[in-house]
């Protein structure tokens, strides 16, 4: 159970507590409370369902940032075997905000890459809150090219509040690193499946997020800018982030309509932080389905389909 609660989660936790107290009471005092407990559990199911299905975009953004939300390494450790982390960009350094390396997925050798956040203060600082430096992008593309060399599909987990806006990042070419990655990813002759598991902030996400298939967890977001950043610029008030979230249309249900993503992976039982095993299972199923489809295409077909897919994105009048 997560110890940090969002406002809309409080009634659920209160009810859960009540149920467990009643169960304990029934056992201790040997009381016949089964009927009451069953009713409360039914009530809880409905409450969970209603709460999480009726969330606003801004509430989903908060869930995507939930401190107890599973991170890339949680999925990697749960869904993959023999993951061997590889380090460094061979140019400057190693970026702990990006993890990656070969692993087996369902018995099959793949390259897995993900943005990694930290759980406690020490880890958060070590992972730089999931904000990558240029070395992270350069490490990611190095691993992706390695995957292409050995004809392994690539699986990417996206979870970042943005590329790191620091002095050193600019000195070492944050813009160039992201541009180069997008450019190179467009030409990789192997399947590329991207899963957005939490935050997908702008170029920071796209810098590892070009793909043949883009899957998104139900409580995740993907946008050209953070809602706070957008609110600060367009409303001149970062506190208007909820309005910006609605205007940006950044949740999976919006993005699938816009044709930017291919599948929404639902998070059973009130979100990935409450039911990790169920969510991870759904991610596995999604990955297997899309990899199987992509397996039928050769390298050239993958590259041209990817090009066509992004070529179709845009709304304009051409008179």
């Amino acid at each position: 159970m997560p110890d940090i609660l969002l406002d809309f989660e409080k009634p659920i936790v209160k009810l859960e507590k009540k149920i467990s107290e009643m169960k304990a009471l029934a056992e201790e005092e040997n009381l016949e409370l089964a009927g009451t407990i069953r009713n409360l559990e039914k009530k809880l199911d409905k409450l969970v369902k209603d709460t999480y299905s009726g969330l606003s975009r801004w509430e989903r953004v908060q869930l995507a940032r939930h401190p107890a939300r599973p991170f890339s390494l949680d999925y990697i450790n749960h869904l993959f075997t023999d993951f061997t982390e590889l380090h460094g960009d061979r140019l400057f350094g190693d970026d702990p905000a990006l993890v990656g390396g070969p692993a087996f997925f369902n018995g099959r050798p793949v390259m897995v890459i993900g943005q990694q956040k930290g759980r406690n203060t020490k880890e958060k600082l070590f992972r730089n809150f999931g904000m990558m430096n240029p070395e992270g992008y350069r490490k990611a593309i190095r691993l992706m090219k390695m995957a292409a060399k050995f004809r392994r599909p690539i699986i990417v987990f996206v979870d970042t509040p943005g590329a790191y806006p620091g002095l050193g990042a600019e000195e070492r070419g944050q813009g160039e690193a992201i541009a180069r990655n997008i450019y190179e990813m467009a030409r990789l002759p192997v399947p590329l499946v991207v899963v957005i598991i939490g935050e997908g902030a702008s170029g920071g996400a796209l810098g590892i997020g070009l793909g043949d298939r883009i899957l998104m967890l139900e409580n995740s977001w993907y946008s050209v800018i953070t809602p706070e950043g957008c609110a600060a610029i367009l409303w001149r008030d970062a506190a208007k982030a909820n309005l910006a979230a609605d205007a940006l249309k950044l949740i999976p249900a919006d993005l699938i309509k816009l044709g930017v993503i291919d599948e929404i992976i639902s998070e059973p039982g009130g979100g990935a932080h409450r039911n990790f095993a169920g969510t991870a299972d759904a991610v596995r199923t999604g990955l297997l389905t899309h990899l199987a489809e992509l397996d039928t295409l050769d390298g050239e077909s993958l590259i041209s389909a990817r090009l066509e897919k992004y070529a179709a994105m845009g709304y304009y009048h051409d008179r």
Partner: protein
């Protein structure tokens, strides 16, 4: 309570002293008063301090292309407010007022032209159109410019000036980074030449896509070139940024642009590069 009442208007009410319209202009950098005709003859570069005044796409076309050689393509392409985006203002209203203010359809134009007799595909951005932001129209025009260059086997030149992706087109504007970069990747793989000219400012989504993907990168002196905005970086690191941070000279020092070229010499530099890259006889057996 007011004891005295001012009968004559205060000092603050006086209109700012302006230089007479049209004849003289004050340099934004060194504050010298420059004769406007001289400024125009000097490619809008201050003759005292070499400050490069911001100029629009029409002026770049005049400066860099041979007279009368430019044939514009997709002139009528227009943005659509497909998300019904509304902040304090509607996106559709922003588009309308930008079109009225600039007389342009969007922040990019492209076509076929010639640089000193070398035929090229030429694209140029207008910062005055919603900050040169990249939405669907800019992305599509870059993509079509690349395809035009590919189809006719011509060199591609893009003059960038942009604050980044256009927020009012949300995720679709982010996807223009993917659209433009993937087209450039194919063009380059097939041997196409692309020269990227970075002017003040070229930042965020445009720097993180087509502006940084040239075979040759040329910056105008003093141009701000970077991914994150200086204000955001300052907030993040909690200290003042060094002088010249993210300016053209900084990018040259850090290896992200090949050269800084004064606007007055830009055309002749382009001609030299085009001569080098398009000349036959590169290999002994050619």
């Amino acid at each position: 309570m007011v004891w005295f009442k001012r009968n004559t208007p205060g000092l603050a009410k006086q209109a700012k002293k302006n230089t007479p319209d049209g004849l003289w202009i004050k340099c934004e950098s060194c504050k010298e008063i420059i004769y406007k005709k001289q400024l125009i003859e000097n490619s809008y570069v201050c003759s005292h301090c070499e400050f490069h005044f911001r100029i629009n796409s029409r002026k770049y076309i005049e400066l860099l292309l041979d007279e009368g050689s430019f044939e514009e393509r997709c002139e009528g392409m227009e943005a659509v407010d497909f998300l019904h985006f509304r902040d304090q203002k509607r996106y559709s209203e922003r588009l309308k007022s930008a079109r009225q203010k600039t007389g342009l359809k969007d922040a990019m134009r492209f076509g076929i032209g010639a640089v000193g007799g070398h035929p090229v595909v030429f694209s140029v951005m207008d910062f005055s159109f919603i900050g040169g932001s990249m939405g669907s129209v800019v992305g599509e025009k870059v993509a079509r410019a690349v395809d035009l260059a590919r189809e006719h086997r011509l060199p591609l030149i893009i003059v960038s000036a942009s604050g980044g992706a256009r927020m009012m087109e949300s995720i679709i504007s982010l996807m223009q980074m993917a659209k433009t970069s993937s087209r450039l990747a194919r063009f380059s793989a097939e041997g196409g030449l692309y020269i990227s000219i970075l002017t003040n400012p070229t930042t965020a989504g445009v720097v993180a896509s087509y502006a940084m993907l040239g075979d040759v990168h040329i910056a105008e002196p003093g141009a701000l070139i970077g991914f994150a905005g200086p204000r955001v970086i300052k907030q993040t690191i909690g200290q003042d940024l060094p002088d010249g941070f993210q300016r053209a000279a900084f990018q040259l020092e850090h290896g992200f642009v090949d050269m800084i070229v004064n606007r007055k010499e830009m055309k002749s530099k382009l001609m030299t590069l085009l001569r080098f890259f398009t000349a036959t006889g590169g290999t002994a057996d050619a």
